[in-house]
């Protein structure tokens, strides 16, 4: 039997960053999404936005070397670069909710067949952190969710209907997991790419809704 590979966090981020087109403005969520900043495809210029009020910033600084008045939403100090701008919260969320950002990359707990997203609260904890999740899931033109395909207990995270509290209804465009790339379309979920060593049937067995296998379905593109 062929060996099955699962994408690591960094590799999921690398695959997600391939979605960034030249000139895109992109908000990166906490966790795997922030790692995407390290993998901008060559020759493309991308403006990163952070909801605490900064656009077009550079790389995260080395620990202890940054200026504490220049932070990303994860609280890390970042470099400015020519073109970087700063603004307050009302402006930042006008940008986010008004549809001015091209892409939001976020983590997810569950995604439904229709693209509903649940990512702010694990019911067992009883208290969630909404933060800017609903705003970003609503407002960006394209929402890319990066997450593991199944839970630690082996349960699917891609479901017919989310069982966790909803962040935003029908908002997800693309799901990138450790074993698959799935597009949310009007016709249903389309399996576009799979991790090396996996078959579409095996991905389906870990996914609750029926997947439409793209005729061009192939191994996940990383280069």
């Amino acid at each position: 039997m062929e060996e099955k590979f699962k994408l690591e966090r960094q590799t999921i981020a690398l695959r997600a960053a391939k979605e960034f087109q030249d000139g895109d403005s992109v908000n990166l969520g906490i966790g795997i999404p922030v790692l995407c900043a390290n993998y901008i495809p060559e020759g493309r210029e991308v403006l990163f936005q952070s909801e605490n009020g900064i656009l077009g910033f550079g790389e995260v600084t080395a620990p202890g070397e940054g200026d504490n008045d220049y932070l990303n939403a994860s609280g890390q100090t970042v470099h400015t670069q020519p073109g970087t701008s700063c603004f307050g919260h009302a402006e930042s969320f006008t940008m986010i909710r008004g549809g001015h950002l091209d892409i939001s990359v976020m983590g997810g707990f569950q995604v439904s067949e229709k693209g509903d997203l649940a990512n702010y609260m694990v019911p067992e904890r009883k208290i969630g952190v909404i933060g800017g999740a609903m705003d970003l899931a609503y407002g960006a033109k394209r929402k890319i969710i990066v997450m593991n395909h199944i839970t630690k207990d082996g349960q699917p995270r891609i479901l017919k209907k989310c069982t966790y509290p909803i962040t935003t209804l029908e908002c997800v465009n693309l799901i990138i997991t450790d074993i698959a790339v799935i597009e949310v379309t009007d016709k249903g979920l389309v399996l576009k790419e799979i991790a090396p060593g996996w078959t579409p049937e095996e991905v389906q067995s870990l996914t609750e809704p029926t997947l439409i296998v793209d005729p061009d379905c192939h191994d996940i593109e990383l280069m």
Binding site: I30, G31, V34, S50, E51, N52, G53, I54, G64, D67, N68, D69, Y70, L71, N72, A73, S74, G75, Q76, T80, C86, F87, G88, H89, A90, S92, F93, I96, R97, I127, G128, V129, I130, G131, G132, A133, M134, D135, Y138, G139, P165, I166, T167, T168, L169
Partner: protein, 261 residues
């Protein structure tokens, strides 16, 4: 008489904040943009039953001291000393550890109204602009819509979110002049700029007070009318004394591993 909004002490700046007041606390979450000295002064004053409007409810000074911040106190000082009755916030608890607000919430000792961050900003801006509220599509079909008016505009559903006004707004800026004009540094505007003018009284804690005229007309971010009082941080300040707790050290380790709070 010459306008002069500069006060000489933080205690004086918060002296008339009464028990039961509704206060806005500026910042985002990271202590860099938090009015740290105003938090300490308000705690020292000993107010009770506050309703707070802020993005987070604070994480405690220890986690910030580890990161090298001298002005390390955040809203947690009001929470842990039992001064908060109700918090209106978007990210009231931490994903990494249990902050004091979460402990009190689980014990039934504080109330919480959780608001999405963009709606929080918009409700504050509505108060500042004299509006009754705003219609937003964010939150439709989620727990946030419960009990709110839903209006269909051009075939799309919107929620009515009411303006959020406070008695006092406590904010942090970089520089101020005696008129109360403010400028900020970098990404530290956050809720500070949004809250300036959204309360009956706006109090700004600043790094430096400069002569009138030093802040240029194109440079000023918060114009003077929004600000009532200004206090400068002390230049020689070494931070509050005290050992860093084991809990804070453990949460810092998790922060480094996860890359966020």
């Amino acid at each position: 008489m010459a306008i002069n909004k500069i006060l000489s002490s933080f205690d004086e700046a918060v002296a008339d904040i009464p028990d039961g007041a509704t206060i806005m606390v500026g910042g985002f979450g990271t202590v860099a943009s938090c009015p740290s000295m105003l938090m300490i002064a308000l705690d020292r004053k000993g107010v009770k039953n506050l309703t707070t409007i802020s993005n987070t409810t604070g994480f405690g000074s220890d986690v910030w001291k580890i990161l090298g911040y001298k002005f390390a106190e955040d809203m947690d000082i009001l929470v842990r000393n039992g001064r908060v009755k109700k918090a209106i916030a978007s990210a009231p608890v931490s994903a990494v550890y249990e902050n004091n607000f979460e402990k009190l919430l689980r014990a039934g000792k504080v109330e919480l109204e959780m608001v999405t961050q963009g709606t929080l900003a918009e409700r504050i801006r509505a108060a500042k602009a004299g509006l009754g509220g705003v219609y937003t599509p964010v939150g439709v079909g989620t727990v946030v819509e419960e009990g709110k008016e839903i209006k269909t505009i051009n075939g799309k559903k919107y929620l009515l979110e009411l303006a959020l006004k406070a008695d006092f707004a406590l904010i942090k800026a970089h520089k101020a002049d005696r008129w109360g004009n403010l400028v900020y540094r970098g990404s530290s505007r956050t809720f500070n700029e949004t809250m300036a003018g959204a309360a009956k009284v706006t109090i700004a804690e600043v790094d430096e007070v400069v002569e009138l005229g030093e802040l240029g007309p194109e440079e000023i971010v918060t114009p003077a009318v929004y600000v009532d009082r200004v206090v400068a941080r002390p230049k020689e300040y070494e931070g509050e004394e005290g050992e860093i707790s084991e809990e804070a050290k453990a949460s810092h380790e998790k922060f480094l591993k996860r890359g966020s709070a």
